[in-house]
Symmetry: C2
Subunit: 487 residues, 2 copies
Amino acid sequence: MSESTSFHMTPDEFRTFGYAVIDWIADYQQRVESLPVMSQVQPGDIRAMLPAHPPAHGEAFADILADIDRVILPGVTHWQSPNFFAYFPANASGPAILGDLLSSGLGVQGMLWLTSPACTEVETHMLDWLVEMLALPEKFMSTSTGGGVIQDSASSATLTALLAARERATNFTVNRSGGTGKLVAYATSQTHSSLEKAMMIAGLGRQNLRLIDVDATFAMRPDALADQIARDRADGLTPIFVCATVGTTSSNAIDPLPAIGEICQRERLWLHVDAAMAGTAALCPEFRWIHAGLEHADSYCFNPHKWMFTNFDCDAFFVADRKALIDTLSILPEYLRNEATKTGAVIDYRDWQIPLGRRFRALKLWFVIRHYGVEGLQFHVRQHVQMAQQFAEWVRASDDFELAAPVPLNLVCFRHKGGDAINQQIMDRINRSGDLFFTHTRLDGKLTLRMSIGQTHTQMEHVQRAWTRIQEETRKLVQGQAARIQN
Amino acid sequence: MSESTSFHMTPDEFRTFGYAVIDWIADYQQRVESLPVMSQVQPGDIRAMLPAHPPAHGEAFADILADIDRVILPGVTHWQSPNFFAYFPANASGPAILGDLLSSGLGVQGMLWLTSPACTEVETHMLDWLVEMLALPEKFMSTSTGGGVIQDSASSATLTALLAARERATNFTVNRSGGTGKLVAYATSQTHSSLEKAMMIAGLGRQNLRLIDVDATFAMRPDALADQIARDRADGLTPIFVCATVGTTSSNAIDPLPAIGEICQRERLWLHVDAAMAGTAALCPEFRWIHAGLEHADSYCFNPHKWMFTNFDCDAFFVADRKALIDTLSILPEYLRNEATKTGAVIDYRDWQIPLGRRFRALKLWFVIRHYGVEGLQFHVRQHVQMAQQFAEWVRASDDFELAAPVPLNLVCFRHKGGDAINQQIMDRINRSGDLFFTHTRLDGKLTLRMSIGQTHTQMEHVQRAWTRIQEETRKLVQGQAARIQN
């Protein structure tokens, strides 16, 4: 092969194939509602369609794209279907996808300010905008003592906060010479599992995570927290960290930040507030009560990639004292030294996160905020909350179903009064039908169904159909049982 | 606003705006060579162009896109320019960008097999393909005891490997009850800084990272490693982990895996091999010698997002014993339980990584491998190596410059013989000119220039021009100094 040989896609080919991919996605957006929401394949089905060996020679792009329909689609659970009510939303949108596409096209590394100043500065600016949009405490602004950064996920935000807490509490001793196994963190049984994982990763040990009792709304009991801290101190342990949740994964429970915050302040513990899904609600003034007490927090995160129309990954993580974070994670090898970093006039985001490399994720956030405007984001978030409230009304009015937890925002936890078995059957049968997809949790020891409402294109008609479908499947099940008993 | 109000981008608008973004990127690919490689802005310049407050109302997409040229481009350091020779390559390509676009469009979460089976199965399959393409040890195949997973970066791969090593060595004691500060890891001064960061994150302490002496090629001295392990054991410490590098960031030094591997086997230490950039070379049989001894490794990673035409993030991380990894990172809360996971018939990649959430990154890898074919990837990697070898020849033939390290592959470390000051000036002046962008390191205490050759579209003409430019700038500097001395 001569030196002028090239296997690269030319810009003109990129244009042609790029249009085709854009068309594919636009078509997908139009038909996703008609596809079975939960993938119906069995383990191994998708792999069985892939060639055992990599291709020796390049293939035509049309053949590659055709395989998205043939091979991939059957194996996709459609998170972008308006009938997706499982787990939590991961609601993408046109402007987010296109902002992310530009990020891929520019292909910059944002590990240092110098390696692409715009990547850092737009990110800092967007995170400041978010402070204003959600009316978060001023101290989280970059113009104050703190600042924001995009993390891949709330899991990583929690880990990062825990590390900063660990180092602040030990005067950087663990960073220097390793852990002691005597540092304690606090949460509840309803806190996201990523905290237990973070305790393991950070070398603190999951035994040193105390699960504080919750009240009837599944929110942390501050009195129980204070008691446990006192017991641990009496045992010679060092309390360092509390993770409070605004909107737990299970049931959207909201830990009482004012009381927890006061305890943390008194006891000098790092307070991290995880509002992964629910935080977005604070776009609307009427929902900002969820953040009451947030002024006590040392760090906070929410995920625009859950409920703010921004595709994964985009967790917005804020700290009140950026120095504590940077001192915890900073490493400066020779090959990354440069004048801008040396002067301290710039942010180098590699010191705000676990990995070194980072892509230009702020672009998609910028596109989303500008496309919708604050007004547009508020409108759709309000709609989602209204739909969930309506669904909760239907459950309340039903003889057979009951609410299993309060419904502060867009998640409804409910169950058939007939016990775990029938709830499991209702869920499994509907999910297998592909009509909609919803998942479960366990509250008060009982299997509980969850309707998580927040997909971009979910409208009242989808929620109405879901409720009809659940009632219909329940009737069939109950009638089937009655028939079996009679026979 | 009525219930039918919507601020969303319609599929048809997405089509129109999507074409515009594709056009923008195609145009960018055509003109990137003409742009100053290193961004010329000062700290704060980009932020100053952004509105202080978020927009209350949505803006037209055309206005948003226009700001990519007006606001963003001046602040971009062009990693996709063929004149980019700094740090390491982050070489994107058309098929990668389009595969990633589809991932954004599908918007699936791949944390569990169930949440999109194709996301997991294509990833497992692609990583198996990579084992075959690089002729890696069989044990890294998913069909064996091990398997591969995509991590965001080599930093995260190193951290993940270190955690598994920590738990294997302590019978999961640290996960349970926290660290002891007596676990020791080994690397060299040339090992990537992410290992020191991982030691801190994992609660092991950076004092417990031993930097083993290197030989004249900046590679680890196995005898020094064995000695240090013996000393640490004598001191009552527990050696657990060695990170060997195939192609260090500074100078592409290659640690001797066969000897290191034997020591690790004898001493029962976890051997992690970091081949972040250089690993890609093993696509070509003639470069596979870099992996000699890899059969001793417990884990291995390389970054298709560096030198294999796949945009960030895409680090391919392999373990020989997937059980050790899963046992280290697994957490299973009620809301993630499902039948497929319970049967153990599937992989849930959340247990292979730090975060919980994950996007469909295997798509871009699949697109790249199929578009280029193994042949195409080999061809371009060979070209890059040839260019670097040619550049090294020019340096060797020069009276004023010298090589500072061996040049096994695509990175040339060199310096002007006149000392640090002139090297710093050559680099700063050329980088400020925007003609090309290259960076430095320090070897044997001396400032050393690095030509890292691996951008997708770099051709011999660009490398030739870079060398001409370096010589020209040097002449100017030397003449300027001579003139000042005469005056």
